[in-house]
Subunit: 101 residues, 2 copies
């Protein structure tokens, strides 16, 4: 029996908040922490934890700096992150195709 | 800002193995435990845990019985399970639409 499409999903990427972070990060060169927090309706602590998981897996880089005098954190998707997101999206398309049958 | 599509995903349904269980269960009236185990390439213990989460949430019913003399367990998706799966699939479609932009 060939593997079910859900076998191709990767928990690091599939978790819904991390999927949201990667989806938004993939839309631009880098995205600011506060923007992600608002867009995904997460607390700072929750967002931080998910960004750490993605960073540990090499899927995003974290950049710290200042905008004027205000400290800011940016998240940038890596090439590995784009590849992992593309694999997730392909697996989701295969899953939705099963639902369309 | 309107909520990101990943905000509409429900962790009970979105977790990849549970999404697989519900997808397969939705294809027929009921599905046998061993079939699910093979189709999703899960251990019996892991499959049991996920079925318990789905049962506790009212998304599947668990039926125990015999096929000949062999004890068997069947999993049947409930109406609430079909509704929850449909909501998940709709949220995934919205997410994929963002990726198509």
């Amino acid at each position: 029996m060939s593997a079910h499409p859900t076998s191709d999903l990767n928990d690091v990427v599939h978790q819904r908040h991390r999927l949201g972070i990667l989806t938004i990060a993939a839309e631009s060169k880098r995205v600011e922490f506060g923007y992600l927090k608002d867009a995904l309706e997460l607390t700072g602590g929750n967002l931080s934890r998910h960004i750490t998981v993605l960073n540990d897996a090499g899927l995003v880089d974290i950049e710290k700096g200042y905008e004027g005098k205000r400290p800011k954190t940016w998240v940038a998707i890596t090439d590995a992150g784009r590849t992992a997101l593309a694999a997730e999206i392909a697996a989701l398309r295969a899953l939705l195709a099963k639902h369309d049958q």
